[in-house]
Amino acid sequence: MPVKTTENGEFKPLIVAFCCNWCSYAGADLAGTSRLSYPADVKIIRVPCSCRVNPLFILRAFQRGADGVIICGCHPGDCHYTTGNYYARRRMTLLFSMLDYLGIERKRTRVEWVSAAEGVRFSEVMNDFAKHITELGENKKLEDLRCKKSLD
């Protein structure tokens, strides 16, 4: 389990961001190049396309202690693979709706379309998402206690 508190005891969330290689990952690079900061709580996983993100990955992240999961892809219509983000959009809409139906906090999951040119937006999105997750606090509804309990 990662340490989730700062030195002065404040909650520090763990956020997993899936970014498509062609737009959002490049947008993250641009945010970096432009020195636009966002919380270190956000850790990025590079995927070829938002349509590569399996609901299993999202649940896995929550199971392992993530407090928020965000999926970033090219803007609809701009997918490098033409249609990938359209499929991702339907899948994630339905999945999020199901998580909501199960009573999981709606704001723990998010999809954002960020282009390679939107470094500013990338950092804004991550700041905003991290803010929301910090407000929500620790993910307790979808955690796996086995991962949480230290083994001794």
């Binding site: 389990m1 392992r64 202690g65 086995r146 991962c147 230290s150 083994l151 001794d152």
Partner: protein, 343 residues
């Protein structure tokens, strides 16, 4: 010696038991009655004939931690994080489930002893409850079980608004002695005996009261094994684990490792011989299709287990599988098809 008290005082009884030891009772939650740890808010359902999962879970939980391995960089340390033992009472066990403990004991307490199981058995006091209204799915009678007079460390009856208790073992005596403030000696045993008799009458009238088990003898093993009827019996089987997981005598388990990220949690979990990956090995699947898996389950209950265990059948006739199988295929159908109709 019988003792008794008013049924209304049951909550007091539970509280008294629970003040000393953990108490397991058939408790309803979200419409499902299972043996669960009691507290004041519990909805106790002593009227429930069959809990969904059997009482065996108290001794052999569906999953339990065995040991853990903690990793730090390239170092691994072994940690025993199995459950710590505590004394408990399990109350309201039916005659069939009580018999299942004997069947499981023969497996887990014989050499090599399963210490996890044994610890729980040693810590347990089993208080059974006689059946009042057996169902059409009940067929315990065929296995010499008397649902009107169940075994256990102590036995209990509910007749005419009164709870009767009879200690059967030393543990049972202790159990009863601790409840002296609530129990009084029963003098109207005849009333109880009459009630037992009326239940026995019903048990005799149940549709599966008299099954013919003659064929299931060790010397017929190969004959039964090769019976062509297995194919048609198994063809509807979905390969799910419902029968196994509700069964009080199914005892197979799997040991699995869960990667927690900072180490490995090794745990055991019930397994089902109906599953396609049961006992699968590197060399393949010894029982490749559902026919063989299906046959295995019933051969084990009706032939292999008795062969190795003084002719005691590996079925207690609780009827859970009869009630729960999604395709209505069950051990009664198997017995009737392979063994013929009534005696």
């Amino acid at each position: 010696m019988y003792y008794k008290m008013k049924v209304e005082k049951l909550p007091e009884l539970y509280a008294l038991i629970a003040s000393e030891k953990a108490l397991y009772l058939p408790i309803e939650q979200a419409g499902a009655v299972e043996f669960r740890k009691w507290d004041e808010s519990s909805c106790v359902r002593l009227d429930c004939l069959n809990t969904l999962k059997s009482a065996k879970g108290v001794f052999l939980p569906q999953s339990e931690n065995l040991v853990a391995f903690k990793t730090e960089g390239k170092n691994i340390s072994v940690i025993d994080n199995s459950e710590t033992a505590f004394p408990f009472v399990i109350f309201g066990v039916r005659a069939c489930d009580a018999r299942s403990f004997d069947i499981l004991d023969r497996v887990f307490l014989s050499d090599p002893v399963d210490t996890y199981y044994k610890t729980r058995r040693d810590n347990a006091t089993v208080v059974t409850l006689a059946c009042n209204e057996p169902e059409e799915t009940c067929f315990c009678r065929n296995f010499g079980i008397d649902a009107a007079d169940p075994a256990g460390d102590a036995s209990a009856w509910i007749v005419d608004g009164e709870l009767y208790v009879r200690p059967n073992t030393e543990k049972g005596e202790t159990f009863v002695s601790r409840l002296s403030q609530l129990l009084e000696e029963a003098s109207d045993v005849e009333k109880l005996e009459a009630a037992k008799q009326s239940v026995r009458d019903i048990l005799g009238k149940l549709p599966f009261a008299e099954l013919n088990l003659d064929r299931f003898k060790g010397d017929n093993m190969l004959d039964i094994f090769h019976d062509p009827a297995w194919k048609s019996l198994s063809e509807s089987c979905l390969g799910c684990g419902t029968c196994t997981y509700v069964c009080p005598t199914c005892q197979c388990y799997d040991i699995k490792d869960f990667d927690t990220g900072s180490g490995i949690q090794r745990y055991r979990t019930w397994d089902s011989c109906m599953f396609s990956d049961f006992t699968k090995t590197a060399g393949g699947q010894p029982r490749p299709s559902q026919v063989e898996r299906f046959r295995q389950r019933f051969m084990h209950k009706l032939v292999y287990y008795p062969m190795n265990n003084d002719d005691i059948y590996g079925c207690v006739g609780c009827g859970r599988c009869v009630a729960k199988c999604p395709v209505s295929m069950n051990i009664v159908k198997v017995i009737k098809t392979l063994g013929g109709e009534k005696k």
